[in-house]
Amino acid sequence: MFKIKLEQKERVSKREELIITLSAIGIAFVLSGIFIALNGVNPFVALWKVITSALGTPYGISETLVKAIPLIFTGLAVAIALNSKLWNIGAEGQLFFGATLATAFIIYGPVLPKPLELTVLIILGAIGGALWAAIPALLKIKFKMNEVISTLLLNYVAINITDYFLFGPWKGKDNFPYTPEFPVEAKFDRIGFGRVHTGLFIALVLVVLLYILIYHTKTGYKLRLTGSSLKAAKYAGINIKKMMFMVFLMSGALAGLAGVSLVSGVEYKLHQQISTGYGYTGIIVAWLARTNPFIIVIFAIFLSILLKGADSLQIAMRLPAAVGVVMQALILFAILGSELFKNYNIKLIRGK
C-alpha cells in the first residue's frame, strides 16, 4: 500500500517558485491548446499567433500596452485589498461607476482647459470607484457581511446604472447606447506610439506613488503590518477597522481610475463594452504578483499579451472572443494547483 506524505519545505527559494509558476503556465497553455484544437483550429498555429500578434509588430506591441493600462490599475486595486486579506471582486463595477461619474461631468459640467479638465476627470473617476467600494466596505465593517458576494453583486448594479444613463438621458442620436464623442479637452493625449495614451504615465506614476506610500509612509507601514498579522497589528495599537475602510477606498479608487483611462484614453465615449472584464482579469494579475507594485506591471503586461493575442485569434482564426477568458481561467487553475508544490515536498511511502 502506498501512502502519500506531505512534508512542509523548510525554505522555498525564489528560483524554485519561479520554475513551478512557469511550469504551471506552460501546462495552462497546453490545455488551452486542447480547447483550440476542439474548435478545429491548429493549436500550435494559434498559440504562435498569440505571441506574434502581441509582440511581433509595433502595432501589436502598442495594442498590448493599451490593454495593459487598465489592467495595471485593476491589478493594483485587487492587490492592495488582497494584501490585507480582503477580496475586492467588485473592481469591474467600480471601474464602471468611476467611468460613469467622470462621463457625467463631461456631459453636464463646463468644458475646462485640458489640464484642468483631465485632472477633474481623474479625481472624479477615483471618487466614483471609491464610493462604490465604500458600500461593501461599510457592510463588512459594520455588519460583518462577506465582501466577496457584496462586491460581486454590486458589479451588476453598477453596470445597470451605467446602462440606465446610456439608454436614457445619454442616448446617442441614432438611439444606440453610447454617448457622443468626448470633446478634445476630455481626451488623453496619445504618446505617439499607436493608441497608447498618457494614461500609461498616470498608471506608472501611480505605481511609484503606491510604492512610496506602502514602503515609506506611516500609513503604508500600518497597512503592511495589518496585512501581515492582524493580531500583531492590534497589539501595536493599530485601528483595524479604519485600516480596512481605507484599503477598500483605495482599491475602489484605483479601479475607478481604470474606468476613466478607458473612456478618456481609448474609447473617447462611454458605452457598454468599454471593459472586457478588466476588473476580473485584475484578480489574476493580483494573485500572480502578490505584493510588489512593480511586479504587478509585469504581470499586467503578460496578461495583456494574452488578451491581445486572443483578440487576434478571434479576428484571424475566427475563434470566439471567449478564448481569452478560457485561457485566463486555465492559467489561474494551473497557478492555484501549483501552490501546493511550492510549499510542500511530496513523498511516497511504501507499506503501512
Binding site: 507601514y221 503590518l225 501581515s228 498579522s229 500583531a232 497589539y235 501595536a236 495599537g237 485601528n239
Partner: protein, 529 residues
Amino acid sequence: MILSDNNNNLVLMKNISKSFFGNKVNTNVDFTLEKGEIHALLGENGAGKTTLMNMLTGVYFPDEGDIYFKGDKLNFNFPGEALKIGIGMVHQRFSLVGNLTVLENLILGHPDNKYVINIPEKKKLIKTYMDQFNFQVDLDAIVGELPIGVRQKVEILKMLVREVDVLIVDEPTTVLTKQEADNLMEILKSIAKTGKGIIFITHKMSEVFNIADKITVLRKGLKIATVDKNDTNPRKLAKMMVGKESEITFERPKVETKPSVIKIQNLFVNSDKGVLAVNNLSFDLAGGEIIGIAGVSGNGQVELADALTGNRDVIRGKIFFKGDDISNDSPVKRIDKGVSYVPGDRIRVGVAGNQSVWENIIMKVYRLPKFKKGVLLDNKKLKEYAEKIIEKYNIFLPSINLPALLLSGGNLQKLIIGREMERDCDLYVFVYPTRGLDVGATEFVRNAILQLRNQGKAVILISGDFDEIFGLSDRIAVMYEGNFTGIFNNGDHSLEEIGLMMSGCTEEEAVKEMSSGSEDKKGKEVTDV
C-alpha cells in the same frame, strides 16, 4: 502477545520521550493503567501530561519508547484509530459537533449505523447506556445550545457508547460549577466500577483525593513518582509537583519606589468564551517593584495582562495608571502613555512574522516625530534605530531585513524585550517570558526584568517558573480562578505552600496544611543589599 504477567494491565507506556522543536516535553516516562482503576495524572502546566495522553490516542508519535494496550503494541496511522480499538479522550476543548443534536453526536460514525437512521431505535440503544452508567441527557437538545457541564456529559457518553476500555479526561472541571464537578466525580466512579480504566488529568488536589486510586506526578516532562492514594497526602504531592527550592540568587537592591504606578480595583474580565476569567481582582503595584504572579495557566493571567494593556475589554472595575483612569483607553493610547506588554505568544502577537526584523522593532515608535522626514517615514533613521537595538541586546542575525519568524525563540524574545525597554515605559507586563527559551536567553530576560525594576519601573511578571518567581519578585501573588488566593512578600511562604495555593487553598489553609507535617515552613530569605 502479553507483555506482562499482570492481566489487569490496560495500558502500559514504557520509557516515553517526546520533543517538539528541540524542547523535550516528555522524558523517559513510564505509566500504567489497570482495569477498574482511576489514575490521576498530576502536574503543572507544561509538565507534559496532555502530550503524554495525546501519544496514547495517536495524535502524536513518541520519539522513544513503546505503548501497549491490552498487551498489544500500538502503532497508529490515522485519527480515529484509538477510538476504534477502545481508547477515548475527552479534551479540554470539546470535540462535539455544535449544530447536531445530542443523539446525532452520539451515533456519529458508529460502525453499527445503517443507511437510514431509525431514531426511536437509536434512542432506545442510547438509553441503555445512560441507565447503565446512571446519567441522563436530553437526546433531542442541540449540542451548541447546551451548558458546558451537560456537553461534557455528552462527550463522556459518546465514549461509553463506543465501548471504550480506557477513558481519558483532561482537566474536566475547569469549566464546571461545584455541583457539576461533584456530579462528574460520581459518574467517573461508577464508570470505573464497570471495569473501565480512567486517566484523570488535573492540577487540583481536592479532586485527586476525591476519586483517584493511583496518582502519577509529572514535572517538567519527567515522571516524579507514582503513588497509591493511601500512601500520600497533599503536602507531599505539592512538593513533587513544584520541586526543590532553586539555587539561583538575584540581587535585589533597595530601590526608591514610586507609589501606586498601577492600581487595579474590583476588576472583572471575560475570557474569549464569555466566561469570567478575572473575578473581582484588586491590587496595587509601585514603581521599582516586581510582583510575580504564580498560578497554573488558565486561571485568568493572560486575561489580566490583556486588560491591563487594552487588548481586552473591562467588564466592571477600574484600572488606574499613574493616577489616570485608563480603564477605557485604547491600546495605542496606553502604549503612548507608557504601558509596555511582552506577550506570551511571541510569534503571533509579539511580532508580525512575515515582516522583517527592523519593521518589527519599530512597531511602537514609528509614530515619533524624530522618525519623520517631511510627509514620509525616515526609513534610514528607523533602520539605524533597529541596528542600535540589535547591537545593544546582542541579537544575533546576519541582516535586519530577514523576516522575524526566522529568529530563534531566544533572539525573538530579545528583540521584543529590547524594543520595549528602549521605550522607557513606566509599567511592564511580562507573560511567561522565558517559556521555551535556552539558558542564555533565559538569563538575559531575567536580568532585563531586574534592570527595569532597579530603574524604578513597575513590573508584573506572570510566570510558571519558580526560579523566576522567587528570584526576582518583591511580592508574590498566586492566581486561582480569577483572583489571588494569596498575595504576600517574597519569603513569607514556602514553595510547597504556594503549590497548595495554586491548587485552590487559601493562604491560611496552605499554612495549616504544611504545618501538619514536620518540614520547614519558611522558604528562602530575601537578601537585602
